[in-house]
Each structure stands twice: as structure tokens, then as C-alpha cells.
Symmetry: C2
Subunit: 530 residues, 2 copies
């Protein structure tokens, strides 16, 4: 019995595509074209080079790179060497990078020359025992070697594209925690394999997929897309910077069919001067924050098909998907967009997504009672690296606690209401900042918005809105507040609106509410009227 089971691993995806599509373009970057056979050959060479550099089973290898081919290769080469990939957020400081390298006990840190400044900014001694590898031709720190020198240590001798234990780690993704030290989220070969199938199914990838890398690969390992698009035999289009002009140029040059990104990336695309209706639809899978109905509507008018998913670093990126129901195309556009902005239901490879109270009881499916979103199963992490207490705390009751608050609608769809730490408690009432933000976004003059709770003598907290206006658009704070009061309960409307030129964001485009909130709470005496 069971004589024939094979351990699940995404390594099998590249092995297969190199065999089936040796000459097909796997990677596009600038003028560079890499076929699938070459992709696999580079992977083998790097894996052999890592072995020759002392990387053994389970050893961590850190990468600090934008979305370039070397990082795509690393997603296969590090596990092929039996190592564990630690892809680091490119916006972190030298101190944070040093912490992650030390905590993960990385043996090598492979860095793109454009990010070398972050590495040389590491505290003295942080690089002791850490082999720095610089991709690029410029200067390099003492003791560092070049990427070419690294690969020269390798050979073309094949390594098996298999693993003994499918539950072994394939990568560790450090969360960009807004408080406390980042935590190392462990992904397994099995999880990465199964979630790749989920991405293929829900984003409707096929062998003709041309995938534009607008989502950082270091972020939840790009929602498993490095593995998924390679498995299906599609083409990866790399890019260093997520700018509107570059995105539209690459869409037109390469016939892009799919891209992923946070709603702010969608806003960038929609509002770029180059934006124009598409000749054929592009599937955009979005997550990171609930896309506003305004964004969904605008993208669809350009011809983008929106797939809305939800998840966290701890869930390999997407865990749930807002499955469109058969009746939705007949709804009026605003109502349909409201439905599409829900976080939905567990993906095909996932378990149910629950919304629970503090005793792990499901909240009523009334679309109103808030509870915490909890998840478990094959697309939830194996745990936090070297942190059994943090892992036990996150999995209390047998389910991973997201820290996100949501409601369950009567149709079983979950709607995110807020991060637990973002919700505004005003006069004993919970106010969802997302609900207020969506009301503000529906005003035609608004480009972006963030709402946070600010101190209030009487109510404890009250909502305040930070708004970026569209270029050339005019609107006052009073007009916006009136607009909101006409759409949602009056007590939820902000009493203040502040206009800014930019919002503080993480590298993945998430707005850093803590930064806005911190300022308001630190300087209680400073009140800025909109």
C-alpha cells in the first residue's frame, strides 16, 4: 500500500517545465530572455555553488533583491541545495536586515548592488560569519564576493528535484511587523506546492500566462507565484520598480495577461497618464487591503478582470477569494463592486475561513457582528522560526489567529472590517476604518485615503481621515465629511480631514496606519484642521 506516493515540492514544477518547454521564454527582464532549460541550468549551477559555499540541509540563505531573475532563480536554487530561502524586504534598514540574518542564522546574504547601501549600513560585526554576495559590477564591501564569483563555485552536475520530507521548510518570510521584532514565518514544500495549484486555479493561469512582477517576490514569496507560473509554463516579466509608466510599457510590449498587487498598485495603474482601455483583458489578483468599489469599477472599465483575495504572510499570501456568484453580473455596478470588495471564502486548497469571538465560537452570520478571522490547514504556515511561544500563541485553539476583525455575511462570505489594532472604539461603538475609507474613496476628487483613530476627550477615540486629492481636483474637508455622512452612519464620519501629498507605505504598498496614528497620539496638542 502507498508504495507510490511522492513528496510534494515545487521543485518538480521547474524540472517539468524545463523538460516540456526547454526553449520557451521563462523570464523576461529588460533585453534579457531566459528559456526554461536555461532557467533550470542556472538553478542547478547556483544550487551547486551554495553547496560548495557550505550550505547544508536546512541552512538558511538570505536574498535582498528587487524582482530580478536572480531572485526568481533563488526560489528554486536554494531549496534544490536543500537550503531554506529567506527573501528580505528591500525597504528594511541595515539594523533590521542584520536582525533577520542573525535570527535566521543565514550563511549567505545575496544582495543586489542597488541595495548595497542597506547592507553596508548594518551594525559593525553583523556580517561576521555571513558571506556577502553582490550581484552587479560596482564596489563591494571587504570580504564580499560577486554573484559571478559565487556561481563560478558551482557546476552543472544535476541535483535531484525531489525532497525526502514534504513538510520540510522551503522558505522563511519575515513579517514586516509594525511593533516588536519581525517574526520568521515558515513555509513548507507541501504548502508551497498546494498553494501554487490554488493560485493557478483562482487566477486562471495557463501555459499562455505572461505574468508581470508588480508584487514583490520577497512578500509572502510572491504569493507562491514564482512556483505557480513556473509550473504552468508561463512567462515571468521582471521589473525593478513598480511605476505606472513601466507597467503600461511592459503590458504593451509583452502581452501581459496577469499581474498581482495591492490596491495601491491598482490605483497607480488606473491613474497613470499611459492608462487606456486594454485590447484584451488582464487578470489582476489583488490583496493586502480591501479594494474600494471605486478602484474595482475603474479597473474594470479599463478592461482588467479583478480577482480579490485575502491573506497574510502567515497564510502564504492568499487564503480566501471573493468568488463571484452567478447573479452578480446583473447587480448594478456599485452593488456588485461592494460584493467584490468582500474577502470571501477559503480558496479551493484551503479550509473554511472562520470569524470567531474570544471563546472560539463562530459569530452569527449577520454581516454585523465583528469577530477575529481565524484560519488553518495546508495554506497556513508551519510556525514561526525559533519561536515556539509565538507559534503556540498564534495557534491557540488550533487555529491561526489573524489579528484581523471581520464579519460573516448570511451568504457565508467574510468581510474584513479592520485590523484588530486599527479598529476605532468611539463611545463604546466599534468603527471600521475600512468602511469610512470606502465612503471617502467614492468621492471623485479622492485619490487615496487612510483613516485612523485619534484621541478624543469625550469619546475616547474618533476617526480622522488623511486624504490625497487627485491631481487638479478640488474638495474641502467639510465637503468630504458631508459626503461621508450621506453614505454611512453619521457617528462614523471623520470630524477632521487632513490633506497630504503622500501616505506612509510599506514596500508592498500597504499604508502604514501606525505611523499616522503615532503622530496623532504623540503630539496630542497638535491639531491640524482640514
Amino acid at each position: 500500500m502507498n508504495v507510490s506516493h511522492t513528496a510534494l515540492t515545487p521543485l518538480a514544477f521547474l524540472e517539468r517545465s524545463a523538460r516540456v518547454w526547454p526553449d520557451k521564454t521563462a523570464i523576461v527582464h529588460g533585453d534579457t530572455r531566459v528559456g526554461y532549460a536555461e532557467f533550470a541550468a542556472r538553478t542547478t549551477r547556483v544550487a551547486r555553488a551554495l553547496r560548495a559555499s557550505g550550505v547544508g540541509p536546512g541552512d538558511r540563505v538570505a536574498y535582498l533583491m528587487p524582482n530580478v531573475p536572480e531572485l526568481l532563480v533563488a526560489h528554486f536554487a536554494v531549496p534544490l541545495a536543500e537550503g531554506v530561502l529567506v527573501a528580505i524586504n528591500t525597504r528594511l534598514s541595515g539594523e533590521e536586515i542584520a536582525y533577520i540574518c542573525a535570527h535566521s542564522a543565514a550563511r549567505l546574504l545575496v544582495v543586489d548592488e542597488a541595495l548595497l547601501g542597506s547592507v553596508t549600513a548594518m551594525p559593525a560585526g553583523a556580517a561576521d560569519g555571513l558571506q556577502i554576495v553582490v550581484a552587479g559590477d560596482g564596489e563591494r564591501p571587504p570580504g564580499a564576493i560577486t554573484y559571478d564569483e559565487l556561481t563560478a563555485r558551482g557546476t552543472d552536475e544535476p541535483l535531484p528535484w525531489t525532497v525526502e520530507d514534504e513538510t520540510a521548510p522551503i522558505s522563511i518570510n519575515y513579517t514586516s511587523g509594525t511593533t516588536g521584532r519581525p517574526k520568521g514565518v515558515i513555509y513548507t514544500h507541501r504548502g508551497a506546492y498546494l498553494n501554487s495549484f490554488g493560485e493557478i486555479v483562482h487566477s486562471a493561469h495557463d501555459r499562455n500566462s505572461v505574468y508581470l512582477w508588480t508584487l514583490p517576490m520577497f512578500h509572502c514569496n510572491g504569493w507562491c507565484t514564482p512556483w505557480a507560473v513556473t509550473g504552468i509554463g508561463g512567462t515571468h516579466v521582471c521589473l525593478r520598480e513598480v511605476r505606472g509608466d513601466a507597467i503600461w510599457r511592459l503590458i504593451r510590449e509583452h502581452g501581459v495577461t496577469h499581474l498581482n498587487g495591492a490596491p495601491t498598485v491598482l490605483t497607480t495603474i488606473m491613474n497613470a497618464p499611459e492608462a487606456a482601455p486594454l485590447d484584451r483583458p488582464i487578470t489582476v489578483t489583488t490583496a493586502g487591503a480591501p479594494p474600494s468599489p471605486t478602484t474595482i469599477g475603474g479597473m474594470e472599465r479599463l478592461g482588467f478582470a479583478i480577482v480579490h483575495v485575502y491573506g497574510l504572510t502567515e497564510t502564504y499570501g492568499p487564503y480566501s477569494v471573493c468568488e463571484p456568484q452567478p447573479g452578480w453580473p446583473d447587480l448594478d455596478p456599485a452593488e456588485r463592486a461592494t460584493r467584490l470588495a468582500r474577502q470571501g471564502v477559503g480558496m479551493l486548497q484551503a479550509e473554511t475561513m472562520r470569524v470567531v469571538d474570544e471563546n472560539m465560537n463562530d459569530v452569527p452570520a449577520d454581516g454585523a457582528t465583528m469577530g477575529e478571522i481565524v484560519m488553518r490547514g495546508n495554506n497556513v504556515m508551519a510556525g514561526y522560526h525559533d519561536d515556539p511561544e509565538g507559534t503556540a500563541q498564534a495557534f491557540r485553539g488550533g487555529w491561526f489567529h489573524s489579528g484581523d476583525l471581520g464579519v460573516l455575511h448570511p451568504d457565508g462570505y467574510v468581510e474584513l472590517r479592520d485590523r484588530a489594532k486599527d479598529v476605532i472604539v468611539s463611545g463604546g461603538e466599534n468603527i471600521s476604518t475600512i468602511e469610512v475609507e470606502q465612503a471617502i474613496m467614492s468621492h471623485p476628487a479622492v485619490l487615496e485615503v487612510s483613516v485612523v483613530g485619534v484621541p478624543d476627550e469625550k469619546w475616547g477615540e474618533r476617526p480622522k481621515a488623511f486624504v490625497i486629492r487627485k491631481e487638479g481636483a478640488e474638495v474641502t474637508g467639510e465637503a468630504l465629511i458631508e459626503h461621508v455622512q450621506a453614505k454611512i452612519a453619521r457617528y462614523k464620519a471623520p470630524r477632521e480631514v487632513e490633506f497630504l501629498d503622500a501616505l506612509p507605505k510599506t514596500s508592498t504598498g500597504k499604508i502604514q496606519k501606525f505611523a499616522l496614528r503615532e503622530r496623532e497620539w504623540t503630539h496630542k496638542d497638535t491639531r491640524i484642521q482640514g
Copy 2:
């Protein structure tokens, strides 16, 4: 670590679809429409009824039914009751059915009234200890109960849509072996789950799939399609008989998007009087025999998109797929159809498909050297039920031996040349009957053909063709032989052609070569000239 893994099982697919698409039509049969919530409710009720009838963990439950909703329900209800489904070939004799029930130690046999004759034909005593359940209103044998009486034993109390052990059996499929006793091929929950994803990806199913049940569900559990289409939330269109008129009517009534079937099913569709170009493409996934270039070309002209897959009962149905290469659309139609007729490469969820000599060495990738096709991994069976010796023999060298002979082309694609037992050895040369058949099929007067080896004093064997002409078409045996000699090596051409009205076939549409061969070898003195 690994706190969050969930055992893989297709039960999760119905649980999810009932939750996400409760009112969506899951099953169409005649005037009957079953929504997903109702599909799950029926499944729970039957599972509870099986429990109440004494079915415990690992117990077998046999079904003898055409493609009706009750059999679809059984694919979930039996495993939900922790039982193992034994779906029996509807064309078997009473004696064969009795053997399978006894060998699998089935506790119940659920039979469609249309097939009751096969059950009453079982040898005396075969039904002792076997609860017969008859679906339908007609007569029933003593001791039998009706399907309604069975379900009345059930309740609506939920059972968990989960399993403890993903490597536990979900079904046993008895091979329709042409020699010896049928063998019970064990499928696992894990295998059924992973292969369902493979079917979804390679047949390009999505939530709008309308799947017509032209492939018997009892055959390799319908290539995992009962589970796959349910998972994706598509609609199953059931039908009792695979007739051209019924297929075309259902295609038009229900907007069918997908169907599966052997090449003979494709021939039936193509040559039906109702055939006409489609308004929108239908994906036809075909296997069971290599489709001839003629069939592929004819179906494509009607607007069908052909996906050619290959496998056996022991591989959950399809194991390999003929992935179309980027350059193929530019080939001339005949050359392209020849490429599409190859068995191709392992599917995304599969391992490599190898072609090996008797020492398990890979044959050269020269498109000429024949070897045996071997397979392993998650879409190969767990073993033969209650047959450790047969299992060990099939898996010698760690790979499942298909008994099929093929060649490996320089591009890594496998092409099936023959069943080991079908190949013709003539004067020391191997002749692939498939190659001869495809040459004959390319003649416009030919509807169907089968070639077998017949005794020859001088050469040992020589090829003989059995041919069915298209209605109203005229061609002589001599003309056909000349046609073949112009296309392939002369020594491969048949020396005799016999025209028949019908070919002997299995219930899945495979031509029973053994029946043709047997007649020739038994009556050596009878020579029929074409």
C-alpha cells in the same frame, strides 16, 4: 512546526461548493436539477444510511449504475461514511459482478433497476451477506431493499468532511482485464485530491464548466472528474446512454463546455447526423486509445478543442498530457494532428513518464526504440486490493509497469506504440498496430478500424485489419491495402481486410482486440478475405 497541515481529501470539495454555491445547479439529469446544498444534503443522508446499514471505516460499498446522480452522490457519500467505493463496470456479467463483490467483501450492492438483470444472474449464494439495494420502482429480488428504503435509514446529522489519514483508500476500481481475474486498483484520498487539481488545470475547468458525462463514472472513477468538477463548482450533466443524438441535444440544451471520452466517443460525436459546427468551443479530453489524426482534425473542424491524455486504471485515469508546443499552430494540419496524437509528458501533478528496457534503463530518445512505459508518484495507485504479489510484480524496480509499449521522441514526448500483448511480431520485426490503424483511418471511407496479429506459416504473425466503412462509402480491401502501403513501410501493411458492421468493444469504448484475435487463432483454418 507543521501544526497546520490538513489531510487531503476530495470530501473538502463538496463541503466547500455546498457552502459557496448552495443554489447553483450541481447536477442536471433529465428534468431533475440538484443544487450544491442539496447535493451535499443527499450525500450526508446516504452516508448516514450506510453507517446505519453497518458500513464502518474501510468497508467496501459496491455500486452498479450508469452515469446517474445516485452514482455521483456515492463518490462523496461512501467516503463520508468512511467506506470505500467500488463502482462496477455496467457491462460485466453476473458471474464477474459476484466475483468483485466477493473479492472486495462489499457489504452493500446498490444497483440501478436497468441493470438488475446482471444482479439476478449472479450465481446462487453470491448475494449471501450482501445487501442488495435497487434504485427504481420495478421488481426487486427477495431480500433487496429500494434506494428510498436505504436513504430512509439515514438522517441529516452532519458528518465531518475530513479524514484522519490522507493515504487511506477512497475507492477500488476493478480493471476490466482481458485475461485472468479483474484486479482491484486502490485509489487514496490524497491521490484523488491531487489528480482532481490536475484535471482542473489540464482540462481548463472553471466555475462556469458544464461537464457532460460521456465517460463512465465507474471507469477509473471517471478520471477523478466527479471530484474535480464538484470542487470547481461546475455543473454535472448526467446521461444514461452515450448516443450521438443525446450528446448533441444535451450540448445544445445545457451549453456544455467540457466532456471526456475515448476516441470512439469522438467518432460517435463527429459522425452523428446532428453534428454541426459549434457556436463556442467545447474542450474534449480524450484517452483510452491514441486518437487518430483523422479524428483530431474532424473534431477541430467542428470547433472542439482536443486535450489528449493517457493513463490506465492504475493511474487514476490520465497520467500524461500531450502539451501543445508554441510552434504547433503553424504546422500543417496533418503534421500537427500527428503531434497531438502522442501521449506526451507527465501532467503537472505527475512525475516523469519513462520508457524503459527490461533492465529499467531509459530507451534512447530517438522516436524509434520501443520500451515499456513506467510511471510512479501521486497519481499511481496505492496497490491492488488483497494482492501483495500482484502489487509487487506491477511495481518491480519501484515503478508501475503499464504493459504498454512506446517510444520516446527527441523532444521528450512519449508515443504509445502498442499494448505489449497487442504488438505484432512478424519475421522478427515489431509492428505497431496503432501505426497501421492510423494509416487505414486516414482513408476517407473508413469509420473505424482495428488491426491484430494473425497466424502466418512463414512470418509467425502478420497484420489483419477489421474495418467498418462509413455509411454509403465504398472501398475494397485491395484499395485500402494500397492506401496503407503508400503511407508506411510495406511490410507493416495488412495482407487481409475484413469488413464488419461493428467492432467488439468494452463499456468504455475500447476495442476488444483480444476478441478479434481469439477468433483468428482459434479457427486457424478459417480465412476470411476482405
